[in-house]
């Protein structure tokens, strides 16, 4: 790696550093600044209080957390199954990888609409159930009365859309496991399940950590899928931030909502680092 040390690499890095400073660091501090000001620009806790007293705040917080807690384990299991399939080198393993990766390119909004076609009253789910004779009139799945039913629909849509990202990270992790380890396990009589549990999962720890941190942070921002499937039936933090920034036109309360998302992201990252410590030699 060592080549002439000099100014060259720094010159190459400067543009990206300046850009990240202007568009990441500055807005982040500005967001906290906005959250700690009232609309007139004076520093006070008015905006935060206003957010806390907002009728939808606790609702949005609970729904967002519930979505994260429900979708994450589901995605982990699905992604692991997909990654093991890709890693098993079946016939056409490239094709399997491609199919599993398709949702990676699908936007939140498009994914939401895809599942609207399934769950809408005259949609595919009711049609199939009706054709099978299991129901005699369409069921209202997207009912604003049942928060948990709506949450389930969003969980399914999110599991469909955002599992690929975890799968890709896990496949890369699996490929980095030296084949000798698995062969050794086989020599000692380990079956498939034992190989997964005793060799692959421990070796996958760094990849799992990255996947969990990344996916959790993205899940805290869930927004368009919720709007497509639940309309105003569900409130989430990002949706409230959008509402305050656009229809209500109060950037301070919107920034307070955004700050809540950032704080949740940081706390969850620390929690994962603490739960899944990665040894020095395994570091990313």
């Amino acid at each position: 790696m060592a080549r002439r040390l000099g100014w060259a690499p720094y010159v190459l890095l400067v543009p990206s550093l300046v850009y990240l400073l202007l568009f990441f660091a500055a807005p982040m501090f500005q967001a906290f600044g906005l959250a700690l000001q009232d609309p007139a620009g004076n520093y006070s806790l008015t905006s935060i209080e206003r957010m806390l007293r907002d009728v939808n705040f606790s609702n949005a917080l609970v729904t967002t957390l519930a979505l994260v807690v429900l979708v994450l384990p589901l995605q982990l299991v699905l992604a692991m199954a997909m990654a093991l399939v890709v890693n098993a080198k079946l016939k056409g393993s490239g094709l399997w990888l491609f199919v599993f990766a398709i949702p990676l390119g699908i936007s939140e909004l498009a994914a939401g609409i895809v599942w609207v076609s399934v769950f809408t009253q005259r949609g595919w789910l009711n049609s199939v159930l009706q054709n099978l004779g299991l129901i005699d009139r369409p069921i209202v799945w997207q009912s604003a009365e049942s928060m948990w039913l709506l949450i389930t629909l969003v969980v399914i849509a999110e599991a469909w859309r955002a599992t690929s990202i975890i799968m890709i990270i896990l496949v890369a992790g699996l490929q980095s496991i030296p084949p000798e380890f698995l062969e050794a396990a086989e020599v000692y009589g380990a079956g498939t399940w034992q190989k997964v549990r005793r060799v692959m999962l421990p070796m996958l720890r760094p990849a799992l950590l990255v996947a969990l941190v990344l996916r959790t942070i993205l899940a805290f921002q869930v927004f368009a899928t919720v709007i497509a499937l639940a309309g105003s039936g569900l409130h989430v933090l990002a949706g409230e931030a959008r509402l305050w920034a656009t229809s209500i036109d109060n950037d301070n309360v919107a920034a307070a909502y955004a700050a809540v998302i950032l704080v949740l992201s940081i706390v969850s990252t620390i929690a994962f680092l603490w739960l899944l410590p990665v040894r020095e030699e395994q570091q990313i």
Binding site: A2, R3, L5, P9, Y10, L12, L13, P15, S16, L17, L20, F23, F24, A26, P27, M28, A31, L34, L78, A81, L84, V85, W96, F98, F100, A101, I102, L104, G105, I106, S107, L109, A110, I113, V114, V116, R122, W124, Q130, N131, I168, I169, V171, A172, G173, S176, A207, L214, L218, Q221, F223, I227, L237, R242, A259, I261, L262, Q282, Q283, I284
Partner: protein, 282 residues
């Protein structure tokens, strides 16, 4: 091996075949989970408009028509929004590559003080919530007079895409052997010529994949676009705000139109997918 081993070997063979069969079963189920909804939205989008409210729906459509999709494309504001999305994505792609690729090259080719620090900074910005960037930027844009423009959205999308561009291009350049560049220099090329004539052509397919991925990030963003635009929305922002007042077949066509390019894009960059996201474990 003695004859006594034969049953044991057969048992292992049977076990292998069983676990292979099971793997194919899981693979098929997972593939169906991904593909069936795509099939369903496609059928929904090509169902003739007069059959849009038929119930129960037929899994195999009796007739196909593009009038729903054409209705969507001709709906007011959709084409403008589509072109805005294309322009935003192109600006994002160019900016992210121009700013990010040199950094990726530096990471791949040089050992320097602060290299790990820079890498970790970029890795952590990759996981940064967009929500917190969009709201303060909207305030700043208003002051700068670039609110509700394609440039404002593109600048924000560049920030989103930049960490990816840096990491992807660094893995692309790392895969081009440095020895080739050095050989070119021994043969009398300046470092810049060696880069232009040797590394760049070899890195081109990977860079194209990076560019396409950047394009997808921009094309798919809804949140930033909704916050930063008002009268000049991008396509996803336009669709989102029309969602509640539009007939259901408009939604299906919109979903299908947004989804189609994504599938094509993933197909073209499939060889680079693991490099795009997977370089997390050394």
């Amino acid at each position: 091996m003695t004859a006594a081993d034969a049953p044991a070997r057969r048992r292992i063979g049977r076990h292998r075949a069983l676990s292979r069969g099971l793997t194919y079963l899981v693979a098929t189920l997972m593939a169906l989970f991904v593909l069936v909804p795509i099939y369903l939205i496609t059928v929904s989008a090509v169902t003739p408009r007069e059959n849009a409210f038929d119930y129960p729906r037929q899994l195999v459509p009796s007739s196909i028509s593009f009038d729903t999709i054409i209705f969507f494309i001709n709906a007011s504001g959709v084409q403008d929004a589509f072109w805005r999305s294309v322009v935003v994505a192109l600006i994002t792609l160019v900016l992210a590559l121009v700013i990010g690729a040199p950094a990726g090259y530096a990471l791949a080719r040089y050992a320097f003080r602060g290299r790990e620090g820079y890498r970790l900074t970029v890795l952590s910005t990759r996981a940064f919530p967009i929500v917190i960037l969009a709201i303060p930027l909207a305030v700043t844009y208003l002051r700068l007079g670039i609110n509700d423009t394609v440039y404002g959205v593109a600048l924000m999308h560049t920030a989103l895409a930049l960490p990816f561009t840096v990491l992807i291009t660094s893995s692309v350049f790392a895969s081009v052997p440095r020895e080739l560049e050095e050989a070119a220099q021994t043969l009398g090329c300046t470092p810049l010529q060696a880069f232009r004539r040797v590394s760049l052509p070899l890195a081109l397919p990977g860079l194209a994949a990076a560019a396409i991925f950047t394009w997808v990030i921009s094309w798919n963003d809804v949140f930033a676009a909704v916050i930063l635009t008002l009268r000049n929305p991008t396509l996803p922002a336009k669709i989102l705000s029309a969602l509640t007042q539009s007939p259901i077949y408009y939604q299906f066509a919109a979903g299908f139109v947004m989804l189609l390019p994504s599938i094509v894009v993933i197909f073209f960059i499939r060889r680079y997918l693991l490099g795009l996201w997977g370089r997390v474990v050394k």
